[in-house]
Amino acid sequence: MRREGNLGLAGWVFLSPWLISFLVFGLYPIVASFVLSFREYSPLAPQASRFIGLANYAEALHDGTFWHALGNTLSFTFGTLPFTTAIALALAVCLDKAFPGRTIFRAGFFLPTVVSVVVLSIVFKALYSPEGPLSGVLQGLGVTPPRWLLDPHTALPSIMAMDVWAASGYYMVIFLAGLKSIPAELYESAALDGAGAWRRFVGITLPMLRPTFLFVLVVNTIRSLQIFTEVFVMTRGGPLDSTLTVVYYLYDQAFYRFRLGYASAVAYLLFAVTLAISLLQVRWLKLAGAKE
């Protein structure tokens, strides 16, 4: 029984790829960017870098554009979350019980998830174009179509609609796994007690899915708060900054204005917002669970 459950020196050799990668591309960058967020730093003039305390954070908090970008990002996140979650859950409930063609439907709804967001954004930019099919259908129905991505009032909602479309299939798969883990006996005994389909859904399915809901909400929130690619491809933040998101703002500050220190501070502010919202969601769902 030598070295029970221990690989000895070989164990460390095996762990080394992860250790090196974690130190070089994980721990070091995190620490470095935290330090950087207190400095003024431009890659064009690295020797002029200097410590400026909390000035980067103060500047962001006094910058109207930052708040505007944060507002857009929060609208995007909380505007899409209910729709994505509801559609994903509805699809999952429809596909939970076996019926002919179920795997085809499941695959079909999941399909957009495997396609690059760049491609999806290009396709939706075309769909939303003034001469595109969406406007064409509305015109055919005698409705004046909105100007979609070209109008500051409709640009962000247009991107949100695309995101709901693109993301629902992914969360559907997670809800399907959650539904499968609910013991069938619960439904059987409820049915014996005379509970109808809706009562069983509200009384059994929803409470039993709480961990799944928590995961879906938190993961989708974290992802949505980082929305970038859609904006880059479809609008570049315009028109009139109406689709400017925090990560796009951060990208612009870092790689067009070369203000890496300031951009790092913005990144940490977004991280703080993300963390706060995730913790609130966890608490909220725990409280909802405790009430029952």
Partner: protein
């Protein structure tokens, strides 16, 4: 009951798939002007001219090559490191492996926008900005892949390994000849996930690489779609279709592994 379900789910599915079908449709339409309008359906034709034109353009063929090369190397690196590290994490009980497991879970939760700028600076410091290395090295070891393998190894019996140890086999031989073949199902999930993520990756290739000849397909397409002299939708949709095809094919062949990967992510 199930009949009706199919009847109303079918139009829902078709609506959801319309954008992708339309993408392929536009990519094979001959006409130039008003390509996007509803009229296009009435005048539908077929041509591969956009695809031919696309590959005649040296830059585009290069994007496809770059994407394929980078994805292949990242997949191989991911599979190898996930197998080695995941096995070690599952089988060693020293403080290091426990600390590493915690650190790994922490990285999984870290939003990548916090890492965007520092990773850029690390690549600059290493002198690999604007090279293939910047597209590969930071992604060669993936925490989630390691985690998947670790979970899989934990479920494997240790008898085979112990027997080999009694016979005097070295730890390296045990890993290479006994454990590695057993990991195939988990490594398939790792490889497929790594391919999908890397082939579609956009943000990091966008900021780590500047030269046109090193651009990957998503970056090339995104920048092409913002061309200054108007957009050629036929070309763009052909390019988009080419970008989507490999992932769609992988999905159709490995549906089970991909959906398993999604669920494994949710259960961690």
């Amino acid at each position: 009951m199930t009949r009706t379900r199919m009847l109303w789910l079918t139009p829902v599915l078709l609506t959801m798939l319309f954008p992708l079908v339309w993408m392929v449709f536009i990519s094979v339409q001959p006409m130039a002007g008003a390509a996007l309008s509803l009229d296009a359906f009435r005048r539908a034709g077929f041509t591969l001219a956009h695809y031919v034109a696309l590959f005649r353009e040296a830059a585009f063929a290069r994007y496809v090559f770059n994407s394929a090369l980078v994805a292949a190397l990242v997949v191989v690196a991911n599979v190898l490191t996930a197998a080695i590290v995941g096995y070690a994490l599952a089988r060693s009980r020293n403080w290091g492996s426990r600390a590493l497991t915690v650190a790994m879970l922490a990285t999984l939760m870290l939003p990548k926008q916090v890492l965007m700028i520092p990773l850029y600076l690390v690549c600059a410091r290493l002198g690999i900005l604007d090279t293939y290395a910047a597209l590969i090295l930071p992604f060669a070891v993936d925490a989630f892949s390691i985690f998947l393998v670790r979970q899989y190894v934990t479920g494997l019996p240790t008898e085979l390994e112990d027997a080999a140890r009694v016979d005097g086999a070295s730890e390296y031989r045990i890993l290479g000849q006994i454990v590695f073949p057993l990991l195939r199902p988990a490594l398939a999930v790792v490889a497929i996930n790594a391919f999908l993520i890397n082939w579609n990756s956009f943000l990091y290739p966008l900021i780590f690489v500047d030269s046109d000849r090193l651009r990957t397909l998503p970056v090339g397409l995104a920048l092409f779609s913002q061309g200054e002299h108007g957009v050629d939708w036929g070309l763009l949709m052909a390019g988009s279709t080419i970008s989507a095809l490999p992932t769609l094919a992988v999905f159709l062949f490995f549906q089970r592994q991909i959906l398993e990967g999604v669920v494994a992510g949710a259960e961690k």
